[in-house]
Symmetry: C2
């Protein structure tokens, strides 16, 4: 028996998120099914991040235990041959049997992409949010700077039963023009539910001049979801990478 | 009666090319149908470029005649509201009644995109060709330089009944790494059938070291399709723009 770790990339458009649920196709379910087909034994993957419906990933992580004699590094190639083309393993290797992708210190990178122009671009319709109203990047960058560091991000989390702490650290938060898109890139030690999408929604409100950048400190301090901007649509969000530190 | 010119962008994945044909959905057919819906009069668009099945466009051009009182510039916004989301007009305006999008001198720009890495990227699967074998960009650039200028490009055209001349001029042909992709960008006064895809296929053979860059002059001179490389897959190709000069 060995434990295999996989880097999982997918376009989330056609899936109801990562985590298995009844009556809906999810990434986890497809991985389990295709690994069973490949290895001929029942497989139950453990995912690092339960991305929401419509959210994409370049670097989600999943592990599973197997008795196969296929070397860990070969799993990626073999599995890609039978996966649907909107899911592609980006690498695989054997890890320690006690490695758990969620109960570890990590450094996660997310990107939120916005097509900001008069007309939408058809080829980007599923992987970026479209906003025709001009966004002022300088204002968004100024607002972003207040969010960097260790804060209680309760204002930036969808109100759910939160048993755990809502304190997180953002290491870096940048807003840049990349080709036809504005890309918000955030790196942190963990993110609350919907946190990146609420940060993106808030930065867009500020870019549209509906809010001022210097409202951010009060927004953080208030610890109240209603103080922050709307949750930006799922399709703009990509989980870029998870590093284990 | 007035003539309206539209810039048409689309992801070609779900269409059998631009031109109307029986038993298959095409861009031209959708434009005619949606313009009829919008303007309440039968419309027949004339397209500038009959892109092939699976080929994309950011800047194809189509014109049509109409009696509508909607100003030319407003057509783009009104039409986008009822088009499927993989087709988006990028602008519209009134033009002279004798303007014909095909019988004019033009400067066309195409891009051919290649994802060149070990594993495919799911979000790029429909808009770029995937090649895992490493491509040597320097070799591709050297080969590209031979194609610039006025040449008989018969070796780079799918053998069809060619009544017209096969001489064309390429103004610029570049090969660059852009993010996760290699982008071949070509600007010319016109292109023969499949010419950009055959150039891309030939440059890839050279990038893989199956052919040498300095074979290009003989390949051009031979005027024989069998001398050039394979036709690269349609999904990597995008018609970027058509300028009327």
């Amino acid at each position: 028996m060995k434990r295999v770790k996989m880097i999982v990339a997918y376009e989330g458009t056609n899936y109801c998120g990562f985590q298995i649920q009844p009556n809906a196709i999810t990434i986890e379910e497809v991985l389990n099914k295709k690994l069973f087909e490949l290895l001929n034994e029942p497989i139950k993957v453990i995912g690092a991040s339960r991305t929401d419906s419509g959210v994409h990933a370049m670097g989600n992580v999943a592990v599973f235990d197997t008795n196969t004699r296929i070397p860990g590094e070969k799993i990626a190639f073999a599995l890609n041959r039978i996966l649907p083309e909107d899911i592609r393993i980006q690498g695989s290797c054997e890890v320690a049997p006690d490695f758990h992708p969620r109960f570890c210190n990590t450094r996660k990178t997310y990107e939120y992409k916005i097509v900001n122009r008069t007309f939408p671009i058809p080829t980007l319709r599923n992987i970026a949010h479209f906003e025709h109203y001009p966004l002022d990047i300088k204002r968004m960058q100024e607002a972003a700077s207040y969010l960097v560091g260790e804060h209680d991000f309760r204002s930036f989390a969808t109100a759910k039963l939160q048993v755990e702490s809502t304190v997180r650290e953002i290491y870096s938060l940048t807003v840049e023009e990349v080709g036809d898109m504005i890309v918000i890139r955030v790196i942190g030690n963990g993110f609350l539910y919907n946190m990146v999408r609420i940060i993106a929604g808030t930065l867009m409100e500020i870019g549209m001049k509906r809010l001022d950048p210097d409202i951010l400190p009060a927004m953080i301090k208030g610890c109240d979801r209603s103080l922050a901007g709307p949750t930006a649509p799922a399709k703009g969000l990509t989980l870029v990478s998870i590093e284990y530190v």
